[in-house]
Each structure stands twice: as C-alpha cells, then as structure tokens.
Subunit: 162 residues, 2 copies
Amino acid sequence: MKLALQEANRAVEKEEVPVGAVVVCGDRVVGRGHNRREELQSPTAHAEMLALQEAASSLRSWRLQDCTLYVTLEPCVMCVGAILQARIARLVFGCLDPKGGAAESLYRLCEDPRLNHNVVVTSGVLGSECARILSEFFVGLRAKDNDNKVARTNSLLSPHGS
Amino acid sequence: MKLALQEANRAVEKEEVPVGAVVVCGDRVVGRGHNRREELQSPTAHAEMLALQEAASSLRSWRLQDCTLYVTLEPCVMCVGAILQARIARLVFGCLDPKGGAAESLYRLCEDPRLNHNVVVTSGVLGSECARILSEFFVGLRAKDNDNKVARTNSLLSPHGS
C-alpha cells in the first residue's frame, strides 16, 4: 500500500485527484498507476485501470488470477468491473468512497455469486494516510478556488481591470 | 446500431467474441470499437471501452455528456461504469446479457440515484441481429472445439501419432 501511496503522490504533482494503485504477483510489482484523467483527458484513466493494463502487458495475459491489486481509495463501478474482468484474486484498498465505492460502500460487486468471478476484499489498510492525501488535495483545491474568486472580484472592482 | 454490428463483424474476423460499439455525438460518429481482449491481451479491451476512449480522444475531453453509446450486447459492470465516468447521456444496446449485464439483467447501474450521473437506457434495438452474431460465433467455436477433440483422439489412437 505504501507503493500505491507513492503513486497517489505522483497524481498530486499533476494536480489530479490523488489515487494510486499497484498490482502485485507473488512478490513482484507488475503494474502501477495513478489517476491521470485530466492529463490524458480519458474517462477510463483511473489508477486501477492503468495499473491493470500495465500488469496485463507485463504478464502478456489479460488473466491476472494470481495477482493482488492495492489501491488507496475504494474502487468505483468501472474499476471493480475491470478487477473482475481481469480475474484478480484479491483487492486491498485504503479508505472508503461513500459516494461512489463499489466494493463496500454502495455495492459489494466483488462478492456477487451471480458473476463469473469473485474477489477477496480487504479494506482499511493505511486507511488514514490514504484519506489524508485526498482531503489535503481537496482543501488545497478549495483554497485555490477562493483565491481565484478574490482575484476575479478585485479585477472587476479595479477601474482598469487586470 | 448497424455500425455497431459492423464493428462486431470485425471482431468475428479476429475470432474475438463479437461485440461492437459506436459513440455518436450529434450526427457524427466520434468513436468505434470492437472486442479485442484476446488480440491485445487486455482485460479492459471491450468494445465499449475502446469506443469511449476513441470518442474522448476525438473530442479532446473525458466528458462525453452530449453523446450516445450504441453497443450490440448489454454492457458488463466495467463498461457501464465507464459509461457513467464519461457522463454519456444515452445508452442504446441490442441484446441482453443475462449472465453479466449491468444495465438491466443483473443490475440497473445507469439509473442508481446515489451515483453522480445517470444514463437513459434503451434496450432491444436490432436485438435479434445482435444476438444472432453471438450465437453463431459460439456454435462455430463449439464445432471447432469438437473437431479438435476428434483430431486429438485420432492422434492418440494412431500408433505413430500425427
């Protein structure tokens, strides 16, 4: 999970919502990813998706049945779906996502017996660190947004604009 | 949907499970895709994902809120998740997928009021054509599999193998 947090920090540097993921097979990291939605302007460029794609590419197989995916934030519907598609054995995540999480918060998609694959889930691993990086990011974003509002107001109040 | 069926036919040529998708914005096709999971050895290379990625690339935005996605088969959890992430306005699909469909069969994820986006869904468009291409593919696959079994048995029965 520390490696996943490192990945999340790489997202912070790019001003992306900081989520990081790694895929581990045995004792080897075979895929890494951080959220790059804005950078790539891609709706599918979540940390988990990029880590799974890199893992499949490293192992030259779409079947990742001996792998564990570690991710700092509870995955959304798309990412849980991709974890199921890749036949990942185990999912370990940090903090919950009450608004969009699909492994525990809104749905428990990893454990639905009607689906052709199930995944063992462990949650809360380094949960506070994973949550902190997100809350700090959003606090920073709001502060920046307020600064911009003040700058815009000042510019409107100034007779010459700026 | 006819264009999505054309895409599904491209998958047949590659011996991939034949599912095709297109993304339309206004009267313009901005993304196309067919299932390429085996070809790319990627767990995320479903028709819808590739069509969404192409559309985001064409429109230079991850937000596809004015777009409609047409797909021959009811999307799985991952693909419905990606449709939600891309803020697609409308999903039109051909035939149901009773074992994995997440828009109507197993879940109705496009209509969950707890999620931050909802999608209008229309199902059954050219449904029989979309189902036929899949059933023909699987009949062909089983026939091939039986031929291989017969060939293997003959080879074992032959004193010199083959």
